[in-house]
């Protein structure tokens, strides 16, 4: 068995957790969370709208406080940690990246659907020119085999990535899926390899360990698992497990537990868990952030969210396609009416949302 080394842990409570928070993080919350993570020795803290820079929109939900203000707050609060931002080409642009650099990020994580790495070239180019550390994110990586992903990762490496992540955006992978994908990238790339888990099938921690055992250099966590779908691997749990394995990269386990318990838990609107709809997301292999959007729309049209999620999986919806949820719901209602199944389905005219 190979000798394992402690991975670098990036905390993304303030980015992936933004989905569960409906993008309503405040400056005060950012300051408290960043200070606690920094104090506990977390080296990289990601702060952005859940869908990356420029994600504040009707499609994904508007930010309560501008992400640039939150990044600025985070950069002020961090004494040692680097502040990172996520960027999805097609949603955010170099313009937002430049603004985020001005507010203090020193790491950018550039994410594409795992088949579309070649849309990220101009963003990696600019980030390297500006002296940033760069990480590539291959999202929805369960949808393609390891060798294919290695090719896409190699493109990102050629554009200037310092690390490429296998991102299990749907929380759909089993440990063996993770092992084969991480191994393929380790084999192919001369840069670092990372892994980002979602807990939709209850495997976030197990998959993160599988990645580390295959030599992953970087992994992601969120305090209390606060993230899209059933959430992510909890940062405090990663720290405790790594510590028991003798692989603690310098994290203060108790301080992270305290941050999860006393800072994050009290502000969470709900504890993400693999419940009915989140399991369905992992099972159907769809984007974890569809969870809340699908629930709202299903409730409005009198549908079971699982019908919508499974159909989105069948249509091979990819990262960022929240608008297809409404589309699928309308199609299901239409089909049911035509079959005479649901005479009482509501008119697709007005969707009332809970005043959240």
């Amino acid at each position: 068995m190979r000798t394992l080394k402690p991975p670098r842990v990036t905390d993304t409570t303030l980015r992936d957790g933004s989905h569960a928070m409906r993008h309503q993080f405040t400056r005060e919350q950012v300051r408290a969370i960043v200070s606690a993570l920094d104090e506990a020795g977390v080296p990289v803290i990601e702060v952005t709208h859940g869908d990356g820079l420029g994600g504040s929109s009707i499609q994904y939900g508007f930010s309560g406080t501008s992400e640039l203000e939150l990044i600025e707050e985070a950069a002020k609060a961090a004494k040692r940690a680097k502040i990172a931002a996520l960027l999805l080409p097609g949603i955010g642009t170099r313009k937002e990246l430049a603004a985020a650099i001005e507010r203090g990020i020193t790491v950018v994580r550039i994410a594409t659907q795992c088949t579309e790495a070649d849309i990220s070239e101009q963003h990696f180019g600019m980030a390297k020119d500006m002296g940033l550390e760069t990480v590539g994110f291959l999202m929805m990586a369960h949808m393609r085999p390891p060798e294919f992903l290695a090719e896409q990762a190699a493109l990102m490496e050629s554009y200037g990535a310092d690390c490429v992540y296998i991102v299990d955006s749907a929380g759909a992978m089993l440990p063996d899926d993770v092992r084969r994908r991480v191994a393929a990238l380790k084999e192919r790339l001369s840069i670092q390899v990372g892994f980002h888990a979602h807990n939709n099938l209850g495997l976030a921690i197990g998959n993160t360990l599988a990645a580390i055992e295959e030599g992953a250099d970087q992994v992601d966590g969120c305090l209390r698992g606060l993230g899209a779908g059933a959430g992510n691997a909890p940062t405090e749990l990663i720290a405790a497990v790594l510590d028991k394995m003798g692989l603690n990269p310098g994290l203060d386990v108790f301080k992270l537990m305290d941050a999860a318990e006393y800072i994050v838990a009290p502000i969470m609107p709900y504890q993400p868990i693999p419940d009915r709809d989140a399991i369905t997301i992992g099972y159907a292999g769809v984007y974890s952030t569809f969870l809340l959007h699908a629930r709202h729309i299903a409730a409005e049209f009198g549908l079971d969210p699982r019908e919508i999620l499974v159909e989105l999986g069948r249509r091979q919806a990819v990262a960022g396609q929240e608008d297809w949820i409404l589309d699928v719901a309308l199609d299901i209602v239409r089909a049911k009416r035509a079959a005479g199944g649901v005479g009482d389905a509501r008119e697709p005219a007005a969707i009332e949302r809970p005043a959240d």
Partner: protein, 287 residues
């Protein structure tokens, strides 16, 4: 090219020019009996019979071409993001620009979505318009991929300048599904006022869809517009969502590539109206 052959209207396809003698497009044009040149724009400039030029090269090349074509007294219809001339969306503002010598077609997403934003705008002022264009990965060439930011900048600007939104935002998503998906666009609009006649907006949108269908038959709304209350930076507001599908005519490109088809169809439409204008034929077009 195929659209001009299928339906020349008041135009005649006089030349197909490229710069690569080995190009498949040139070979195909030659087989169809169209005069071709691999000397790029030179052959076009030398031919006084050519009045209208469709430029589908690159933004960089078009900046150079624009000047040369202007000096040669030719009308340029620019399919690149160069935008040396005004943006045009045929059913919205083409009539106002028939005296120009260079017009720009924005982006495929812009051609698809701006008509709908304008259709709302002619009934109520628009605070914010946001569009999401989803295209099949196979239909997005290297030019689009390497310049994806330009798509979002240009489309967002078009939503404001031509669609009439105070603020515009554009998102593009490439979907690799097999079989490839038909081009899809979601158009979200937040009217600037809260009291308005929904039925009048829907009627205006329906009318606009019919106008675009005149030159893009596969342009259709999947459902009636959906009105929904959402939290926005302007407080809780009604958001209007329109789900649009653009299926290509399949003249040459596969039908799923509606994004490519709507550009060439819009270019044809613009060319035809310029041709009619040059010939002194009276037309009724949007000004």
């Amino acid at each position: 090219m195929y659209k001009l052959l299928r339906n020349p209207g008041h135009m005649e396809l006089a030349m197909f020019a490229g710069i690569d003698p080995q190009s498949e497009g040139l070979a195909r044009a030659k087989r169809l009996g169209i005069p071709t040149s691999y000397e790029g724009i030179t052959a076009i400039l030398d031919n006084p019979d050519i009045r209208i030029v469709f430029d589908a090269t690159s933004a960089k090349a078009h900046v150079r071409h624009a000047k040369m074509l202007r000096e040669a007294g030719k009308i340029a219809i620019d399919l690149t993001p160069a935008a040396r001339g005004p943006y045009v969306v045929p059913p919205v503002n083409l009539g106002a620009h028939l005296d120009k010598d260079n017009v720009n077609l924005i982006t495929c997403g812009g051609q698809a979505t701006i008509p709908l934003v304008y259709a709302v705008r002619r009934v109520v002022p628009v605070q914010y318009a946001e569009i999401v264009s989803t295209v099949a990965s196979r239909s997005a060439g290297p030019g689009t991929r390497q310049n994806i930011d330009e798509f979002t900048f240009t489309t967002a600007h078009g939503l404001e300048a031509i669609g009439g939104a105070e603020r515009g935002k554009a998102i593009i998503i490439l979907n690799p599904a097999e079989p490839p998906i038909i081009m899809r666009n979601t158009v979200y609009v937040i009217p600037a006022i809260e009291e308005y006649d929904e039925a009048a907006i829907v009627a205006s949108v329906d009318q606009m869809v019919a106008e675009v269908q005149q030159y893009v038959p596969g342009y259709r709304l999947k459902d009636a517009p959906v009105f929904d209350r959402r939290r926005t930076p302007w407080g809780e507001r009604t958001v209007m969502a329109m789900l649009l599908e653009v299926e290509g005519a399949g003249d040459f490109l596969p039908p799923y590539a509606g994004n490519l088809d709507i550009m060439t169809a819009a270019a044809w439409r613009v060319g035809e109206l310029f041709a009619q204008h040059l010939l002194g034929i009276r037309q009724e077009v949007a000004a």
